[in-house]
Symmetry: C2
Subunit: 267 residues, 2 copies
């Protein structure tokens, strides 16, 4: 249980003070945060709140979207926020194809360049950039980085303390090469974040909000956890689920179910 | 133009006699067929109709679904139908995970075994089994074969005249290794079918019916055609689009737009 982290997106709509108290009530000591929610509550105020409850921050979502004109400024600001929150990792959702573009190779090359530009800033802040491969169904509109192999190739030119990768079960479970790539990620010291969600169908329109709580779908979650652990990774295990039906329920109930699924299907 | 083939799914709802006449009217000489539609019209009747219009059949969709209890019988029947229609290739959509299963490795291994069982029957009929990798978003419910590399690995134990693969732009465009795998598919003599559709977002609920006509999306269709051609492939180029908005229009209009997109974005 000491490795569990509740990603705030799983209990979307749960106000931060209630989330903090609710986590402590159920023995949770770590959370993953989202920039929009944190900004709304205030970055410094969030840091103070979490400290007062003894909660630490495992990651901040999200930087990236390198296809947008303001990417440099917005990613520097995200690094600053991660620093202020004490989050060791800033998750990067790298962005899709620019409007009207079909140049997926070009978009991927640009991401490499953009990350290179951010590295000194991230190193200075002590915040690690965590490249997240997203499921290929998001390739055109959210993230042209679709596999763990691609994420590791993008990370390779940079120091491991500056750039790592996210292993997210939801995005990677279909890939028969993922086990080899997890081993590689561990060997190269690149696992910056491990996130868990389950795959359920049918997918809803837009496909963003169709994730399942651990154990409700078809992903071999324990196999992922064991593969990540086998590399020597001892970091947090964040559960991050986007699901409108889940969000309709009270935060404390969602957390209870999340913890039950985590115990039964991840540990 | 002599390589263009209209997959019947693109103009779903267009009755076969009208489709046949409509193809001839627009200079189209080849079609890809679907079993349900053919069965409804009658297999022998379809073969006679198409012959009378001078149309040849480039593929029959679909065999596969090896997760279903009747897979052996239904695939033999599909091979028989392909033979009767003169279709050189039977497209295999291999099936997802059995209900309640999380064993994706097991499902993939079973597909290899099942194809092995079908090979003698397919060879005897002169019908080639064409393994189609489907986009990873279909992995759990339609097809655990998600990449061209996996499809080629499944084909490898069998004679190339018995088992090939489908290169479908819609399913494969996101994969940065696809260019190397197309070259491999050509070198191994495995390209049994080349299908074209474009990727558009947002995806609709269920994600099946969200494909775009050539040129309406973000896929480098010409690059795919050139990569396939570079292997020496000279076979048909089938346009296969599932889209409810497209289907709402008259078949002849859809075909006109399909041909225009094909000329501008594929040739």
């Amino acid at each position: 249980m000491n490795r569990f982290s509740l990603n705030q997106a799983t209990t979307r709509g749960w106000p931060l003070p209630e989330l903090a108290a609710g986590c402590v009530a159920q023995g949770v000591t770590q959370v993953g945060l989202w920039r929009e929610e944190v900004q709304e509550f205030g970055v410094a105020r969030t840091a103070t709140l979490l400290r007062s409850f003894g909660l630490s921050v495992t990651s901040l979502c999200r930087g990236g979207f390198f296809d947008r004109p303001d990417w440099l400024l917005s990613n520097r600001q995200a690094i600053d926020e991660a620093y202020d929150l004490g989050a060791p990792a800033l998750v990067l959702v790298s962005g899709g194809l620019p409007a009207g573009s079909r140049d997926v190779d070009g978009a991927r090359a640009h991401i490499g360049d953009a990350i290179g530009e951010l590295v000194p800033y991230a190193l200075a802040a002590g915040v690690r950039l965590a490249i997240e491969p997203l499921h290929p169904m998001f390739c055109s509109d959210r993230c042209v980085v679709s596999t763990l192999g691609q994420a590791l190739d993008l990370a390779r030119p940079h120091p491991a303390e500056a750039v790592g990768v996210v292993v997210d079960t939801y995005h990677l479970w279909w890939d028969d090469t993922v086990w080899a790539q997890i081993a590689r990620a561990g060997a190269e010291g690149r696992i910056a974040s491990f996130q868990v969600a389950d795959w359920i169908t049918p997918l809803p329109a837009g496909v963003l909000l169709g994730r399942g709580l651990p154990g409700t779908g078809c992903v071999e979650l324990r196999r992922f956890r064991e593969a990540v652990d086998a590399t020597g990774f001892t970091g947090p295990i964040e559960v991050e689920v986007f699901n409108e039906q889940v969000w309709a329920r009270p935060g404390a109930e969602i957390l209870t179910d999340t913890l039950e699924g985590y115990r039964k299907h991840v540990l």
